[in-house]
């Protein structure tokens, strides 16, 4: 592998600038003449806008312009779109209500943009925003998705009767009914997947610059996918044609999904820059982040899991209500459908599955993909119900799982997915060993002697990553193909630039992608630079989400490297007077196998550009591009075991041990993979124990709108994780990579809740399992 090749624990190249405070984020960007924007936002969850009076604001000091939704509409800027078409089971298309970048006549969630002020300073802009007078006529608000479906509930969009966006299903309902009827045992559960606020460390930001002389726009934005942003803003929002719009996503301080989507603010900044004649910057404050970043999860689910007399799973039936908030965000429709229901088979051979999903509008912030996107929700359903079934059947949760594992591959599930490779028993065994599963009863007894309730819970998760084959997602309703592109440029002196459509916002691509090149060519990683995040530099890309940068983004680099190597071999063979087939590339040299003849890499590059002596007919230069379209999803899987101690007097849960055994296929940099798992588990523990987004049901006000009320996980809430990996290489891509970015957040919540419910002897517990809830559950359990 070499010191810096695939498999090496190389320290991250990018961290020097991050940990010395020298990263360059959107808010660090300065353009001459730049001014500042502040948005006027709705204080109401649901109201009609009767009038907007901007005259006082226009007269405030430093104000350059005050703009409203009517003006943006008049200029032909389009409504926001949802890029994945879902059809209801009756064949009708989803009901998409109009979402204007700034509201014109009605607001549907607290924080919705209503007007924007551009002023000399941020403070001037804020002062003037407060002087904009908006007259609202309040309407009743609804925040709960199940309640929003009821007759008589407040209606959000005229397009969607009873606030129902779609009523979708997947799988064979009658086969499931039949299996349920003849089952020896059926476990039934009601499960809630709590709504989360993403809370990336860097708030969203945008800087729009219209250059009048060039008739050209530049947008710096906190995006996980700047090319997608450019397409969407050009083709759908009519901000500017693609060739006149450059989108730059510089260093981005965390996304977790929330920075995939195109939000009103970047559209408004670009448009306002043309309108006012100055570059316009907006940076969200933390309150705006809480109110307007797309939230995650928010499902209510009924699940039934049927078993035969030998404890084999025979069928699963799932009914889910998914809250999508006030408007449909860019990929919102796909999250509770194709990213969720297609994973309901888990790691198990279940002959029949049926799932119905109702997506619903409510007066809350839009909900979209958040680390894991659909797959944490599916895993929570599967792993809670399997654990509960084991308790009901009186068998070991580990053995019930093992007995039902899929063991032969490829395996076609009843819900679209074709698993390509895996060894679920290997992960289970590794986790049980690392967790000293056998020693648990003794630890439980010892804890009891200290007055503590000790519990153990597991979760055997599977996810679908590396999204996704373009034709497949196209047939399921996606508006775009989900390939990736790369270009490898060898410079004249042999150093290398890799241009990638993937976007790094914490993942460490500058290191791992360089490791791949180093592995292939034997050049040190500091001679390899990774270029990303700028539509003027990289031709095209689909960006980073769904743990796709390794499996898809790096596969595109592999394809481009193949082409570079092929040409380099030809040049070397020509110069060394050898047969092309005998040339091997290693340690930065092109060697003739079996001889001591060699050409240093840089000399080959020099020859490619000097072009004095190239094979007949060969073009000068050395630069190759490639697009890679995945052949299948990838299927990371693993087993997590969580052990907790609960203080019955206060309901406090302490995680005393957390073991993760993951199968990510081949691994480029184990240190970075471990970091991704650590961060993912922290987020999953956050969901399970701490984070709960809470809207006041009567008024639709966000109660948890700051860190005073929204609990983010802290270091002290987490144990030192015990992580390890097993490996069944992914057969679907050239590197055998499955992806590791989301696993921690997907696998951990059910492990934590299974552990707590095991400890307290009450299975009726919702996330986040705060001390108050755990204390109440203990009391309820001891009452009867």
């Amino acid at each position: 592998m070499g010191l810096e090749g695939i498999g090496a624990r190389v320290v991250r190249k990018e961290d020097k600038r991050f940990i010395t405070g020298a990263g360059r984020y959107v808010d660090d960007m300065v353009v001459p003449g730049m001014k500042h924007a502040a948005f006027v936002r709705s204080p109401h969850a649901h109201a009609d806008i009767e009038s907007i009076d901007v005259s006082a604001a226009r007269a405030m000091p430093g104000v350059i312009g005050v703009l409203t939704g009517r003006e943006i509409k008049a200029d032909g800027i389009g409504n926001l779109i949802c890029g994945w078409m879902i059809h209801s089971k009756d064949g009708t298309p989803m009901k998409m209500g109009a979402w204007s970048p700034m509201a014109t006549d009605r607001v549907r969630f607290v924080g919705e943009a209503v007007a924007v002020v551009v002023a000399e300073t941020k403070a001037d802009a804020r002062d003037a925003a407060e002087a904009v007078v908006v007259n609202y006529r309040e309407r009743p608000a609804i925040t709960d998705a199940v309640a929003a479906l009821q007759d008589g509930a407040p209606q959000l969009h005229p397009e969607a009767d009873n606030n129902l966006i779609y009523d979708w299903d997947i799988g064979d309902a009658s086969a499931v009914e039949k299996a349920m009827a003849s089952a020896a045992h059926v476990t039934t559960m009601h499960l809630v997947n709590n709504r989360l606020v993403p809370n990336a460390m860097e708030p969203r930001a945008a800087l729009g610059h219209y250059d009048k002389a060039e008739d050209h726009y530049t947008c710096w934005t906190t995006s996980q996918n700047p090319h997608v942003a450019r397409v969407v803003m050009s083709a759908f929002y009519n901000v500017a044609p693609e060739n006149k719009l450059r989108v730059i996503a510089p260093d981005v301080g965390g996304g977790f999904g929330s920075k995939i989507f195109i939000y009103p603010e970047e559209i408004v900044c670009l448009w306002a820059s043309k309108k006012t004649g100055v570059p316009v910057k907006w940076v969200a404050d933390r309150t705006e982040s809480f109110l307007t970043d797309a939230h995650g999860r928010d499902h209510v689910t009924e699940v039934k899991l049927a078993f035969d007399a030998n404890n084999r799973m025979t069928a699963m039936k799932v009914e889910t209500v998914a809250n999508l908030g006030g408007y449909m965000s860019l990929f919102s429709s796909s999250v509770p459908t194709y990213l969720y229901a297609t994973l309901l088979s888990g790691q198990y051979a279940i002959p029949a599955i049926h799932c119905n999903v109702k997506a619903v509008y409510t007066n809350t912030a839009p909900v979209d993909a958040y680390r894991g996107a659909g797959r944490p929700e599916a895993t929570y359903v599967v792993e809670r119900v399997v654990e509960t079934a084991a308790r009901e059947l009186g068998v070991s949760p580990a053995e019930l799982r093992r007995q039902n594992f899929i063991t032969t591959f490829p395996h076609q599930t009843p819900v679209i997915m074709a698993y390509d490779a895996g060894d679920y028993a290997a992960s289970l065994d590794a986790a049980m060993k690392a967790a000293d599963h056998a020693g648990f009863p003794a630890r439980k007894a010892e804890a009891a002697s200290r007055g503590k309730l000790r519990g153990l819970g597991m979760s055997c998760y599977i996810e679908a990553c590396g999204i996704a084959p373009s034709q497949a997602v196209g047939s399921l309703g996606a508006g775009v193909g989900l390939w990736e592109s790369a270009e490898v440029r060898v410079n004249m002196a042999g150093t290398i630039e890799v241009l990638t459509g993937s976007h790094s916002h914490g993942q460490g691509h500058e290191t791992t992608f360089a490791q791949l090149v180093s592995h292939r060519l034997g050049v040190p990683i500091d001679q390899v630079s990774i270029v990303h995040g700028d539509t003027d530099k990289v031709q095209m890309g689909m960006g980073t989400y769904g743990s796709r940068s390794g499996a898809v983004g790096m596969s595109a680099i592999v394809k481009a490297l193949d082409k570079v190597e092929a040409k380099a071999r030809k040049i070397a063979a020509h110069l060394l007077e050898a047969d092309e087939a005998d040339i091997v590339i290693e340690n930065g040299e092109l060697k003739v196998a079996g001889t001591d003849k060699a050409l240093p890499w840089f000399q080959m590059a020099l020859a490619a550009y000097a072009a004095h002596n190239l094979p007949a007919g060969m073009e000068p230069g050395l630069k190759e591009g490639a697009f890679y379209d995945p052949t299948n999803f990838t299927f990371p899987a693993g087993c997590y075991i969580c052990e907790v101690e609960v203080d019955p007097e206060t309901g406090t849960t302490e995680i005393v041990q957390f073991v993760a055994a993951d199968d990510f296929g081949n691994i480029i940099n184990p240190m970075i993979v471990e970091g991704q798992v650590h961060g993912g588990i922290a987020q999953g523990v956050g969901q399970a124990l701490l984070e709960g987004c809470h809207y006041d049901p009567a008024t639709g006000q966000l109660i948890t709108a700051s860190y005073m009320d929204y609990t983010m996980p802290r270091a002290g809430d987490l144990p030192s994780f015990v992580v390890s990996t097993t490996n069944t290489p992914c057969p679907g891509n050239p590197l055998g990579i499955k992806g590791c970015g989301e696993a921690g957040a997907i696998g951990s919540p059910p492990a934590v809740i299974n552990a707590i419910t095991d400890a307290i002897g009450n299975n009726d517990l919702t996330m986040p399992a705060t001390p108050q809830k755990v204390w109440a559950a203990i009391r309820a359990a001891t009452k009867h």
């Binding site: 403070a123 002062d127 206060t650 009320d709 609990t711 705060t770 001390p771 108050q772």
Partner: protein, 266 residues
């Protein structure tokens, strides 16, 4: 934050004069409560009068069993004081448990007491220790000083200058933190002194810090955690919010009281 005029007061008298000269002025001490409120535009004083450079407001002195702490003393200074640790270790521990290091190095006891946040720690200590709040105009017993949620007996233009109390024979403080804010959701300070046992509760009462007669009665005859076994407090009068119901707070108060007594005796 709105724009604001800044004044650095040279003395308590200077601060009082500046305060009297301007209706919309506010004192700022550590700024750990006031500045965040200004940043979110929830507070909008026209003038800030900075107390941080007044030497007379700083320092801790222990003379015999009398402890005096200047209003401008930071939580970190209280937490690090050896003299105070010898006189009342629970008080020192309490100071060291406030917020995070940033907050402790800027926030002051005077600011905390004047603010009387219903979840703040110091008010429980002052009440249980029978402390005296010294102002530029008078001395007020803690019992009379804390009057409600964010309410105190401070009048117009009145500035807290020091806190004074008699070191107890034994004292302990335990709190259960709000998971998000990390302020006390139920904090109990117990003190046994020459005038008996006092138990003060913060973070839980719907009218702010309060003394618990039930627990004081139980502990007066037997200053041991076991004396509280089986004791339950009514949920009535407890605060209720998304983090903790009144019921749950009533439970936590008793649990924290037991642990505080154990700490006092340990």
């Amino acid at each position: 934050m709105y724009s604001v005029n800044y004044h650095r007061a040279a003395s308590v008298e200077d601060a009082a004069r500046l305060l009297a000269a301007n209706d919309e002025a506010k004192l700022v001490s550590g700024g750990m409560t006031l500045i965040p409120a200004m940043k979110t535009r929830l507070a909008a004083p026209s003038d800030l009068i900075d107390l941080r450079h007044i030497a007379a407001l700083k320092g801790i002195s222990v003379s015999g069993s009398t402890v005096t702490i200047g209003a401008g003393t930071t939580h970190a200074e209280v937490a690090a004081s050896q003299e105070l640790a010898a006189a009342c270790p629970a008080f020192v521990k309490l100071a060291g448990s406030i917020g995070d290091p940033h907050v402790r190095h800027l926030g002051t006891i005077g600011g905390s007491v004047a603010n009387n946040d219903p979840a703040a720690d110091y008010p429980a200590a002052l009440l249980a220790l029978g402390a005296t709040v010294v102002t530029n105009k008078r001395e007020v017993a803690a019992e009379d000083f804390f009057t409600g949620l964010f309410e105190t007996a401070l009048g117009e233009g009145e500035i807290v200058t020091a806190i004074r109390f008699t070191a107890p024979q034994a004292a302990g403080y335990q709190k259960f933190r709000n998971p998000a804010s990390r302020y006390a959701m139920a904090g109990v300070f117990v003190a046994r002194g020459s005038d008996g046992v006092k138990v003060a509760v913060t973070g839980a009462g719907d009218n702010g810090v309060f003394r618990s007669a039930e627990m004081e009665a139980a502990l007066s005859s037997n200053f041991d955690a076991a004396a509280l076994d089986g004791l339950t407090l009514p949920a009535d009068g407890m605060m209720s919010d998304i983090h903790a119901s009144a019921d749950y707070r009533a439970n936590l108060v008793v649990v924290m009281a037991k642990r505080a007594v154990a700490a006092a005796n340990g």
